[in-house]
Each structure stands twice: as C-alpha cells, then as structure tokens.
Amino acid sequence: MTISRRTLIGSAATGAAVAAMPLGRARAAGGKSIKIAVISDFSGPYRDDGGPTSVACVEQAVADFGATQKGYDVTVLKGDHQNKPDVGTALARQFYDQGVDLVIDVPNTAVAIAINGVAHDKNRAFIDSGAAGSSLTDKFCNAQSIHWTYDTYMLAQSTGGAMVKAGGKSWFFVTANYAFGHLLHDQTAAVVKSHGGTVVGNVNYPFPQTTDFSSFLIQAESSGAQVLGLANAGADTVNSIKQAHQFGLTKKMKIAGLLVFINDVHGMGLEIAQDLILTESFYWNLNDRTRAFTKRVLPRTPNNYPCMDQAGCYSGTLHFLKTVHAMNNMAAVKNGAELVAAMKKMPTDDDAFGKAHIREDGRFMCTAYLFKVKKPGESKIPWDYYNLLASTPANKAYMPMSEETACKLIKT
C-alpha cells in the first residue's frame, strides 16, 4: 500500500495529457497559419468552468472573426494541465515549440504562474482567463501575458466591499490552504478592514483533500461573525455552501462566495444557492449582446452555459485575432512581446464584455458585476440564476497600477 493514488495518476496522466489533439480548424487555402492552444482543466474540479466549454468559446471566436473569409488557417489545440504546474509547463513548452501563437485559459493560479514564465521565455503570447491570482499582473507580470477576465483583487473589492457596506461588519473566513486561497483571503480581509469591519477568525483547511466542512462551519458559527467568507472555489465552495445550509447557518450568517461561477450554482441547485452574493464579469443573461453571444455558442456546448472564464476565452481570442489582422505582419505575430503590445494599444469590443481595454500591466479592464442568486420560484428559464445588484467600473474594480504594484512593465 505504499503506492499513492496521486503519484499513480500523476505519472500515468502526464503522458496522456501531452498527447494533445488538434480540434477545430478554420482553413483557407494557402491561408496564413495561426495556432491557438487551450490549456485548461479537462478532467478535474475546474472542468466545467473551463475545459470543453472554453474550447467551444475559442472556436466561436474564430468563427465570429471570420477567419476563413479573411484568409487565415486557424488551428485550435487543447491540452489538459490536470491542475499540476509541471504538466502545464510541459504542455506549454511543447505547444510553443510546435509554433502555437497563443496559449489561452489556464484556470488554477499555480499552473498559470508557471505557464506565464514559459510564455516569457519563449516570447509567445499568453492570455489567462481562468486563474484568479492578481499576482499575474503584479509580481509575475511580463510583456507576453494578459490576465483577462477577473482576479482576486476584483472579487475582494466587489463581493467583499458590497457585503461590508450592507452591514456585514464581522467576518469569519474558511480558506483553501494554498496560494489562491491565501491571496483571496488577504485581499478580502483588507477590504473588510478598510471599510471599518473586523475579521474574527480564519480556518486554513487542507486543499484538495477536504470534503466535509461541518467542523469549520461550526467554528464559524460559534465565532459569532455576521459573514462567512468562503475563500475557495469549485467543489469546495459547493460543499461548504451545501453543508452551511444543512446546519442552518444560512439563517444566522450571510455567506459570501468569494469565487463562484454560474456552473457551481447550477451544480448546487437554487434551493441551496439562493440568496448567495457573488461576482462575475460576465453573465449570459445580462444584456442583448451577452444573450446573442450565448445563443451562438450554445450549440457547441449544449449542457453547460458559459461562465465568465469561458466568455473571457471568447473575448481574448477574438481580440487576439483582430490584432493579428490589424498588424498584417505574420513575422511580428511570432514575437510575443510585440503582439501583446499591439493588443494593449487596440481597444477591445465584443458581445461578451462590451467595450474595454487592456492596461499597460496586462490587466484586461472590464466591469465587475455583483449578483444575488435567485430563489427557485424566480427562475423562469434554464440557467436563469442571477439578479444584478451592482456593477463596479473597471477602474474601481482592479488594483490601481501606481499603488503597491510590483509589475516591472510600469514606468513610474
């Protein structure tokens, strides 16, 4: 019994993951060749927030851009990083060496930071949509990478700030014990304190081995705090909220799901998820443009509506292709720094996020929307889950560039 299951999975799967397959291809005879690789979680806890639906969104962007008509031969590849930085790094190296022009998605902050370094070494473009860590545009920022959809700072400002303003002054945190959880906890705690609130306790629980959160929930309850801050994601968040519901915590405390995707809400069901406060930068049913985008992409992903991460893959790919077209110089496209600099110069506009832009440090500047999950009776159509509470403009939602930022790209 000395063989650990995880070691076995690791060694068996590294081989499997690297054997990535080409997926879609928009071919124009004698067209200019572009390769995009979606590196995501295709088998683990973040699969529904990224994975196949991210690929569908990237393919939708290729179609909406009209690649074939404009004379491009676009290949979309995919690779499963299995939430392991070493697997992700190997995949990214292999893809870039095969001539991939853009790596996109990469949920999981640890893997994202690793691939961020590879993109820099190879001087190729990298758009991260799925990872949360704000360190990607701070400590780890570089000229080849863009952080697209959201980050821990924005989640802390939007969800944390709103809950404190609504009277939730004392907080108890349940935190996943790794880089992402700590970042989310620290930044939210800072927001709570800056609004005059207090943090009465925090539990760092082992990630990813925890399925039962009742002990931590009881500790949260006995602390007397008004708000339970969940600095975790995916199945952990679902388990925490489901069990908080069982213990009747929802009647005594407000729950702040600091990172919840619509797919998690779908997994919990509205009976459990109702009244939860959360932040996303995209919701399919937000306006006419988001609905139009969703209607186009759904045939490619019938059972899973896109969340902000996946919509970010669409938006990022579309902007990348528009920039490539505008540059009209395939040699320059192969230079990651030059390509990303051009992407930063051009404002973005698409159905998922509307008009936005990319900041000097690689931060995509989009609005953060604060949502409250509907009650079962309020939901009229499939995946009709959110009521919009507030929106935070990009310049308020993201960490200001001047302050505390360690990004070397910014000349002060």
Binding site: I218, G248, N263, I272
Partner: protein
C-alpha cells in the same frame, strides 16, 4: 462557558459528534474494502469510484425516474453491486492467480475510467441532491445544532456495520466465506460453488460502497471526484485497522473520524495529514495494524 484546552466545551462536543459522522463514512467504506481484501486478496482501488457511482445512481433514480431517497437506499446498492458482479466476473477474476499488484492496477484503471465517464457525462461541478423531507431540519442538542440527516447517518452506519460484522463473523454464510478464502479447493470439495461465493462477496463489498454513496448524496457535492477525495483516507483506515480485519475497519473508521474532528479545531491545516501520521505510528509499532493478525 466551560473551556477545555482553551476551546469552548460545546465546540468540542460538537466536533466529537461531527467526527463520529465522518467516521461513519470511513467505517462503511473501509468495511467494504476490508471484506474484499480479507476474502479475495484484491486491493480494490475502484472503491471510491463505486461510492461515487452509488451517489450518482441515487441522483439518477430521482432525476430520471422520480424514485426518492428511501427506495434508493435499497435500489442503488443493488445496482452498484450488480455492476460489481460484472466487474468481478468480467475482469477481476483473471487476476486472482497473479501478483496482488495486478488487481490493484486493474481496479485503479477502472476507477479512472469510471470517473472519466461520469465527468464526460455530467461535468465536474456536480449535480444537486437534497435530503428527504422527513430528515431535513436541525435539532438543538444544547451544545450544537445537529442536522437531522447527519444523526440518521450515524444510526444507519451503526446498523449497517453491525449487520455486516454479524454476517461475516457469526453466521454459517460468513463461516463458509472465511473457509473459502483459507482453502478454496477443500471448500469446493464439500460441494460449495466457490467462484460464485467469491463473486457475490465482491458484489456485496461494492454494494456497501454504493450504499455509502446513497447516504453521502444529500451531504456532499455529488460530483465525479467525490470518491477519490475520500479513498486515500479510507485506505489508511484499512491499514491502521489491520488489512482484512472487519471489526478493525469499523472501529478504526470511527476512531479516525474523531481524531480528525479534533484536529480540525486545534490545527485545521493538519486535518488531512493526521490520519497518515497515525498510520505511520501504527505501522512502526504494530506492522499488522491494530486489529490484524501478524503474518
């Protein structure tokens, strides 16, 4: 308020109870593993995946057929056991004559296949399943509010564990099973169909995993990875209890649940490691496990 080691007493009583609840799952899962290992000498790595299948079958029965929790308590384990029967007859029986590692690798592969199939079919964020109305709500125990359903889980686990222990240790069927593993050819000579007995034992052990899955469905997120999160701990329970010891698996399951519960109060980051620390200590002092017979 009374304090014990700097923590409020009610909080610790609460943890004790929660520890017993988690221990219930460890006990039920390690029981199935211990039976399969004790009688078949197969290290069943697919146990966690079959636990997950049990939970999904429960959800599926309600979602597609409208069958609720109570009938599912019977139907789902039978479905999982039939799946187990197929797995044993179709695959595992070919590994009996080989080194024990082949069975381990085969079941490990099966676990990956099952998890992969369910991830493809249902996604990774899981499906919603709520406790039956009769068992929803909470009761005030004075020191904590206990969800009724969790109380039911303890009760169910104790009944199930006692019944299984009784069948294996005290009945004629159990005696036959134990005899068949000691000396299959002799038992066969007495006219007992040993291969069938072994197949049914495997199905029974796997059915227990399915039953634990039914009980887990209202508690945890029903997702394809739910079994793999538990299985490491459950294997540690089996090793600590003594490989193949039925009573050992049950007592260790509850005991470790309690130890883990207290760790979650005093030093939460260590709560997943503590089980393996205990395992290391036990293996150093009693290599055959707490209740195992020395080889």
């Amino acid at each position: 308020m009374m304090m014990i080691f700097g923590k409020p007493a009610p909080l610790l009583f609460g943890q004790l109870l929660l520890g017993i609840i988690n221990g219930s799952f460890y006990a039920m899962l390690s029981l199935g593993l211990a039976i399969i290992f004790g009688l078949l000498r197969v290290i069943n790595f697919a146990h966690g995946a079959l636990f997950m299948v049990g939970a999904f079958v429960t959800w599926g029965l309600f979602h597609y057929v409208g069958i609720g929790f109570w009938p599912a308590l019977l139907i789902a384990p039978v479905i999982v056991a039939s799946l187990g029967l197929g797995i044993e007859r179709g695959l595992i029986r070919f590994t009996y004559k080989l080194d024990i590692l082949y069975g381990l690798l085969l079941t490990f592969g099966l676990a990956l296949v099952l998890e992969g199939l369910f991830t493809n079919g249902f996604g990774s964020s899981g499906v919603a399943y709520n406790a039956p109305d009769l068992l929803s709500g909470v009761v005030n125990l004075g020191f904590m509010f206990l969800p009724v359903y969790r109380g039911f889980v303890i009760f169910a686990a104790i009944v199930i564990c006692t019944a299984v222990w009784f069948i294996i240790e005290k009945t004629r069927l159990g005696a036959l099973l134990r005899a068949a593993t000691e000396n299959p050819s002799l038992v066969q000579a007495f006219g007992v169909n040993v291969p069938r007995l072994i197949a049914l034992t495997f199905a029974g052990g796997v059915g227990l995993a399915g039953l634990a899955g039914v009980l887990a469905a209202p508690l945890y997120s029903v997702n394809p990875n739910m079994g793999s999160a538990l299985i490491d701990t459950v294997f540690a329970v089996v090793v600590i209890g003594g490989m193949g010891s039925i009573g050992g698996a049950i007592l260790t399951g509850f005991g470790l649940g309690i130890i883990q519960g207290f760790t979650e109060v005093f030093y939460p980051p260590a709560s997943s490691v503590v089980v393996f620390a205990v395992m290391a200590i036990v293996l150093l002092t009693r290599p055959a496990g707490l209740f195992g017979k020395a080889a």
